[in-house]
């Protein structure tokens, strides 16, 4: 029958992918062996459906198909339960992460009395050039003085400039 052939091909493909993944070390050898047993068992059941009837008779279930359905329900139940547990574990890890973040505030408590930092007005005329503004060996005290004078000028003409957050790159000591 065609359905048997299709199933057989699918099982063989599954078997091939399983061992390919094992070779790629995506899954362990033991896990691959477990899956192989499932695929081979499924292939046997597909090719020789009477096997299930024999098994069913031995277990005490009326028909072979019934046994397959019962077994599937049991397997699904176990898988869903495993998912629940996994979900709970992830939830707890998430809580741990959220807690870690919350407790970080304890080290730097936010006090409402402290006024918020006021951004220092700095004039941004054009984007920074690719090259450094000053040579490496420039007199830094001179640079600082220039910067201070520039900032004073900027604060005097505040309304004429854009108000932006100070860029740490601009305030190099």
């Amino acid at each position: 029958m065609i359905i048997q052939k299709i199933f057989l091909i699918v099982m063989l493909l599954a078997l091939w992918v399983t061992w390919r993944r094992a070779r790629q070390q995506v899954i362990g050898k033991r896990e691959a062996a477990g899956w192989s047993v499932i695929w081979i068992a499924a292939a046997v059941v597909v090719m020789l459906p009477s096997v299930t009837s024999n098994l069913a008779a031995r277990v005490g279930v009326g028909r072979g198909v019934d046994l397959v359905v019962y077994a599937s329900v049991a397997v699904l139940f176990i898988l869903v339960f495993k998912l629940f547990i996994q979900h709970e574990k992830i939830e707890r890890k998430l809580t741990e992460a959220v807690r870690h973040e919350a407790l970080r505030d304890l080290d730097q408590p936010v006090t409402p009395e402290k006024p918020a930092a006021v951004p220092i007005p700095v004039a941004v005329v054009k984007p920074l050039p690719e090259k450094p503004l000053l040579p490496e060996d420039a007199d830094m005290s001179f640079t600082q003085q220039t910067l201070q004078a520039f900032m004073l000028d900027a604060s005097l003409h505040q309304s004429e400039f854009m108000e932006v957050e100070p860029d740490p790159k601009n305030l190099k000591p």
Binding site: I85, E88, R92, T95, V98, R99, A102, L103, L106, P112
Partner: protein, 226 residues
């Protein structure tokens, strides 16, 4: 002795300030854990000047209590008090809860609604449910039946006890979990009467009757999540 109250709060913007002020008259310091409230709970709490920590995502009352407890221990608490943010727990009962710890008679004290001080406005079905929960705790969870209040959130630990009792239930099942952990340890524990007020608002927001099934399920999952 330094007593720090831990107040987990979720969407309590209207009530949190009053609760904190009332609690602060009986303890040295308070830690509020804003459990990811979408409203102004954290902002309101900060106005009182207490330590406010924020869970960026809502993680449940148990998780918030644990965060708060860790914070209290870091802040050097000798006694950690757990109390609800909604004002259900009467702050006047705080000295009752703290006394056995102050006198070093006990390590953990649970506040109970069923030890004489009548809980104001407790609906009859809540009373039945709690009595059912007591039986469930005794038979399934393994909490001694002499514990009269199976779901009390009003409790206090010495610092040492708070360090040792590591509860992992994030949501409502933490009450039963803490009871189990404490009663199975060699810590000295006891119950004291506390007064609890039920208002329509707190009942609306508080635990629903079918939450009992949810708690049972969470405890069941907890057995396998270690």
């Amino acid at each position: 002795m330094k007593v720090i109250a831990v107040i987990p709060a979720y969407t309590e913007a209207t009530r949190i300030k009053n609760t904190i002020r009332a609690v602060l008259s009986f303890v040295d310091q308070a830690v509020v854990v804003d459990d990811g409230s979408p409203d102004q709970t954290g902002v309101q709490a900060r106005k009182t000047g207490v330590v406010v920590l924020r869970h960026s995502i809502n993680r449940g009352q148990g998780a918030a209590l644990r965060t708060g407890t860790q914070a209290a221990l870091r802040l050097g608490a000798d006694i950690v008090l757990h109390i609800d943010a909604d004002g259900q727990h009467d702050p006047l009962s705080i000295p009752n809860v703290l006394q056995p710890l102050m006198e070093k008679r006990l390590d953990v004290v649970f506040g109970s609604r069923f030890l004489g001080q009548e809980a104001a406005g407790m609906p009859l079905n809540r009373r039945w449910l709690l009595s059912g929960a007591r039986t469930f705790n005794a038979l399934i969870v393994g909490v001694p039946r002499k514990i009269t209040d199976p779901q009390s959130g009003f409790r206090a630990f010495t610092a040492e006890a708070a360090e040792r009792i590591v509860f992992c239930q994030d949501r409502m099942a933490h009450c039963s979990e803490i009871l189990r952990l404490v009663t199975r340890s060699n810590l000295h524990w006891g119950e004291v009467p506390v007064r609890v007020y039920y208002s329509t608002e707190s009942l609306r927001k508080g635990q629903k009757s079918w939450d009992a099934a949810r708690i049972a399920w969470q405890l069941f999952l907890g057995v396998f999540t270690r």
